[in-house]
Structure formats: structure tokens, C-alpha cells
């Protein structure tokens, strides 16, 4: 008799498995990006599979699928993302990696004007099964007391400018489990989907991942922790921050519900509204900067459609309206942590912050 324990995967390993399983299933899926494999063109010298992305999510794929389907690109985001758009319109299902979300400035036209609008502008003539994967986020409040992180141009979140574009689906997984499931859903989606993968989830995201293929549906938020007194809406790493805050709040007798948004666009308003209808209080926690943020978008929707269910004004906890500072001590202040969430909740309940 055998017991099959579900093995644990890291965030990057889960994404790797999703891509691998889908690529086995569908020969039209290709992967493109800078050093998605590494050491391009050097297999005959004994160098292959040298890099594999910032999360190592594409490590090993070239060994199975070869350089015809795993394509290392030069540094040319506008060009190769555009090639991804064209390929998606003509029979392939490309997965294009933009190494860091901070680089979307180099190729934003291909996302905003091209991929997102093609199907609409052409009256439905073409599908656009393009997946864009990109890494985001600060190192956050770890234990560094000096020194710094990746700085202003390698630490941003920016999904607000992506969610803003009609026609583009935006997903932000938070665990190894939903990373695999959402990646599979994104690949199977016939329209453009961008997946934002936090660079520094680390052990928080590691967890049990079934070996078989499964899809986590796009457009569905999840209740990560049931509660009664306040809804904490989190995105990506902030979902874990909300869970940590909930643990601390429980000690004080406040029972928080944590909702993991998962899909920023199209947003699952129903789950959030239903949660607030029971808890009557909402805090949205978002690592992005505040102006025109997803946090404020969620808050506005709930203030509009859930007004009668609210016992207190909605609070948002976000990064400040500044670039990301290099300094580790400043970056810790920049990145929302459990303390800020707890403080917002206490304020909401009229307890001293």
C-alpha cells in the first residue's frame, strides 16, 4: 500500500511544472524571453540551460523542448513581445517573459495598444492566446539594517497600469498551488493574459502542489482565511501580509477574513462584496503605489455597490506615492507590512493605533 503525500514545490517550481505540462500537451506553445534558457547557441560546446529566469521558472525546459520552442532573445522587449503578438495571431501560443515588470515601459505599446485591443479592433477575427510573465516587487521588510535592495527601477509593482487596459487579463498568484493553476489557465486562455510573479515570496509561497494538471480559474478571488469582523483584501505577497496581520489581530479578539484577489482584471467583485456583506469592514492591501491603484479601484467598487453593508469607511494600505528607495531601511518603510494592516484595522475599530 502506498501513501501519496502531495509534494511541496516552490513558487518558481510550480510555474515551471505548469509550463512543462502544458507544453507537452500542446506543441504550439513556445517560450520567449531573455535567458529563459541561457547560453543560447552553445549546446555543442556543452553549455545549455544556463539561466532560466529570475525565479528559475523556465530552467530545464530547453532540455526537454529544444531551442525551437524555448527561444532566448536579445535585449529587445518591444521587438520580441511584438513578435509574440504576431505569433499569437497566427497559430502559436507564446509565453513571453518580460524579466521585470519595471521593463514594460520598453514594450508597453505591444501590451496596451496591440495585444489588449487586437481582438476587439478586428471585430473578433483573431484570437490572441499570448501569455506575458513578469517578475515584480520589493525585497520588503526583511532583517537588513543597512545596505539596499534592487532600487527604483527593479522593485516596482505597476500592475495598476496593466489592469487599467481593457481586454487584458491580469493575474497575481500568491502560492505555489495557485501559481501552477493560474499559469495553466492563462496558457489555455485564448486572449492576452499577463501574470505577475512576486520576486521575493520565498518560503511563504512554498506548498503542496498536485502532480496532475489543474486550472485555477481566472476571474475568481479566494477566501484564504474565514473571519467575521473585517475583510482584508490582499494581492500577491500582500495576501500573506494580511494573513500574518490576521494572526496578530486574532490575539486581540478581532477575527479577520482574508480574501486573495488573484485576478486584478476581470476583478471578482462578487466574492469581495459577499465577504464585506458579512464582515462589514474592508481593508485593501496593495504593494503598488496609491494613485489610481487597484486598491483604490476595489475600494471604489465596494463603496459603490456595497455601501449599505459598510459600518466604516474603506481603508487602503499601499506603498507611498514615491519611487522605491534603494536603502534597505527605507524600503522596509515603503513596503506594507502586517503592522500597517493592524494599525488600519485598529483605527477602523476606534482602538488606539
Amino acid at each position: 500500500m502506498t501513501t501519496t503525500a502531495v509534494r511541496e514545490l516552490s513558487f518558481g517550481q510550480a510555474i515551471n511544472e505548469a509550463i512543462r505540462q502544458e507544453m507537452r500537451r500542446d506543441p504550439n506553445i513556445i517560450v520567449m524571453g531573455e535567458d529563459v534558457a541561457g547560453a543560447a547557441g552553445r549546446a555543442h560546446l556543452g553549455f545549455v540551460d544556463a539561466w532560466g529566469g529570475p525565479l528559475r521558472a523556465t530552467r530545464g525546459l530547453i532540455t526537454e523542448f529544444g531551442p525551437e520552442r524555448i527561444l532566448d532573445t536579445p535585449i529587445a522587449e518591444m521587438g520580441f513581445l511584438g513578435a509574440g503578438v504576431g505569433a499569437a495571431m497566427s497559430g502559436l501560443r507564446p509565453i513571453v517573459e518580460i524579466m521585470f515588470v519595471d521593463l514594460i515601459g520598453c514594450c508597453y505599446d505591444q501590451i496596451m495598444n496591440q495585444a489588449a485591443k487586437m481582438h476587439y479592433m478586428m471585430g473578433g477575427q483573431v484570437d490572441l492566446p499570448l501569455v506575458i510573465r513578469t517578475a515584480y516587487g520589493t525585497r520588503g521588510g526583511d532583517n537588513r539594517t543597512y545596505g539596499g535592495g534592487a532600487g527604483a527601477q527593479h522593485s516596482q509593482t505597476l500592475y495598476a497600469v496593466l489592469a487599467h487596459i481593457p481586454g487584458l487579463k491580469v493575474v497575481v498568484p500568491s502560492t505555489a498551488y495557485n501559481a501552477k493553476g493560474l499559469t495553466i489557465s492563462a496558457i489555455r486562455d485564448n486572449g492576452p493574459v499577463i501574470i505577475l510573479e512576486h520576486k521575493f515570496l520565498g518560503l511563504r509561497a512554498k506548498g503542496a502542489v498536485p502532480e496532475e494538471s489543474y486550472a485555477v480559474p481566472i476571474g475568481r478571488a479566494e477566501i484564504a482565511r474565514r473571519g467575521r469582523d473585517v475583510t482584508l483584501c490582499g494581492i500577491g505577497r500582500m495576501t500573506h501580509i494580511c494573513s500574518e496581520a490576521a494572526e496578530s489581530l486574532a490575539v486581540e479578539g478581532i477575527d479577520a477574513e482574508v480574501v486573495d484577489v488573484l485576478t486584478l482584471s476581470p476583478l471578482d467583485e462578487e466574492t469581495i462584496l459577499e465577504s464585506v456583506s458579512r464582515t462589514r469592514r474592508l481593508v485593501v492591501v496593495d504593494e503598488d503605489t496609491p494613485v489610481c491603484s487597484v486598491a483604490r479601484d476595489i475600494a471604489a467598487r465596494v463603496a459603490d455597490k456595497g455601501f449599505d453593508n459598510l459600518d466604516a469607511p474603506i481603508k487602503t494600505v499601499t506603498a507611498p506615492d514615491t519611487p522605491v528607495p534603494f536603502s534597505a531601511v527605507l524600503e522596509a518603510h515603503y513596503t506594507p507590512g502586517p503592522a500597517q494592516v493592524i494599525s488600519a484595522v485598529r483605527e477602523m475599530f476606534g482602538i488606539g493605533a
Binding site: P74, G148, A152
Partner: protein, 346 residues
Amino acid sequence: MQNEAIRSSANSAAGLAQPLPSREKLLWMYERLTLIREFEERLKWLVETGVPVGAVHYYTGQEACAVGVCAALEPSDWIASTHRGHGHCIAKGVEVHRMMAELYGKTTGSNRAKGGSMHITDVRVGMLGVNPIVGMGVTHAVGAALSAKVRKTSQVAAAFFGEGGASIGAVHEAMNLAAIWKLPVIFVCENNGYAQATPVEYAVSVPRIADRAAAYSMPGVTVDGQDAIAVWEAAATAVERARRGEGPSLIECMTYRYYGHHQGDDTARYRSREEEQGARERDCIRRFREQMLDQNLLTPEELDAIESVNHKKIDEAVAFAESSPLPQPADLFTDVYVPARDGEQQ
């Protein structure tokens, strides 16, 4: 211009298109070469002993490129750099103690701890900034050259980029702009053979980046980037051309980074030990020293003294960084917007 042989400096001054730099300048060059090497080697040691400096990209091995180019520039000229920018900073005159303090995240740093390694800037010495978004620094250098032309100064700008950066659209747009407007800019491509783990023979469509200069109607030359005099010679020629109002030039420097793309990168996954060893055998600092001694241009005592001073300089830079203050939370909110300057209305 196609497939031109890589230019190295001959062992005698007779082979050069330019008269050799002055003795003072040669001493300066050795001082900068060794200061960069000392800084980066010390930084690597600090990183490996746990100092949390964030993402760093060692310039070790490429010193002759930065120093050769900056030797041909005036303090009032501009340069713009890439993520691998410590060498350019030091060559242009950014103070090493302010660089080290920046890496340590202290308020005495060049960028007041707001920028870090990838953004070190010092406009007082004409350093427009280390810039890690590939190709963006090149466009800024073109802008500085435009500024010089409009304001009718004799300044020039040098734009550093890698052979990886040669694939990004912004660099091509910048070159075309510089060519049509005859801007005083020198495009310096440091071809170290690898963009992260991607080799140049895969990513670049021509045998020599310098071949692309013809596409923008500017002169292009490939030089031995591990030969500081060869780099200086090409740069001095390009600078003279720019100051005469004849427009931009492209210099491709064949060079090598001894270490990986960023700290902790395992180069064995994409390049051979033999190749790395070969590059070290052509070490630019050792070769410069040999040239200076063989040609009786400088004395061994002078060169040794320079190295000794630089070693102490880095000791002091680290001590300065360690003892400098950390930022306060309120510093997070400074310099978001640009304030009115004296006498201005806003």
C-alpha cells in the same frame, strides 16, 4: 570599415594616430585603472562576507574601456553608463567613498541612499548616471550632446552600452538622432561577449558591432578593450571629431568581465574556464603597466605608490561607509517632486 582588424596600440608611439598622453595623464590612467580594480575586488569581498549592498554588477576586467575613454574627456564633458557602472563612475571622477556609502545605504552616499549601485550619479563631475534599463543611458547622453550643441558649448558626451544593449531599439534611435543632428556624442560599445548568459555570437547579427556604424553614417572602429592606450586613442580621435562639429562616432571595445553578470552568478554554466583564463592573461592593468615600464614612460616606484595609495583609499571608503548615518523614515518622501529654485516662481 567592414571586418576591420581589432586595433591595439603598437609598442611604440609611432603606431598611434594620436601623440601619447602626457606623463601626468598616464599616471592618472594607472591610478584610475587600479582604483577601479581595487574598488570592485573589495566590493566583491564585502558582498561575499555578507554586506547587503543589493544588486551589483562587477566591472572587473573592463577597466581599460572606462579609463581609456575618460582619459580623452574633460571634466565638463558628460558620460552615461549602464548597470555595470562602477568603473565609469570612478573613471569620470565620482568619489569612491561616496560610492561605497551609497552601496551601504547611507545618507552620505552619492544618491543619499535613494539610488544604490544601479543609479550612482554625480552631475558635478559630468556623470549622468548609472542606468540599468538597457539603452536608456545612451539616449540621455545624446540629450546631453544636444544640450551642448544648442547652448553652443564645446562639451561632448560619451554613451556606454554593452553588446547586449546593441540590440535594444532605443540605442538605434539614439544613433540615428545623433547622426542626423550631428551631435557631439561618442557611442562606446563594451563588447564583453555576454549579455547575462546570452553570448554575442547568438544575439548579434553582425560580426562586429562597429559594422553597424555605417548604418548611421558615422565612423566605427573596433579596438582591443583590454588595451587602455588603444581605447584612449580611438576615443581621442572621436572626441576631436565631435568638438569640430562633425558628429558622432562608434567605438567598439572588445573586453571581458572576469566575474558573472551580477553577484553570485555561476559563469561555469555558460562559459569556459579556459576562456576566462585567456582574458586574465590579457589583463589590462598588467599590460598597461608593462607598456609604461617597457617604454620607460613611468617608473615602477611611481606605479607601486599609486597602488598603495589606492588600497588605502578603499580602506577609507569602507570605513567612511560603515560609520556614516542611516536614512530616517522621513527621507522616503524627499525629492519626489523637484522644488522651485532660488528666484523662480512656481
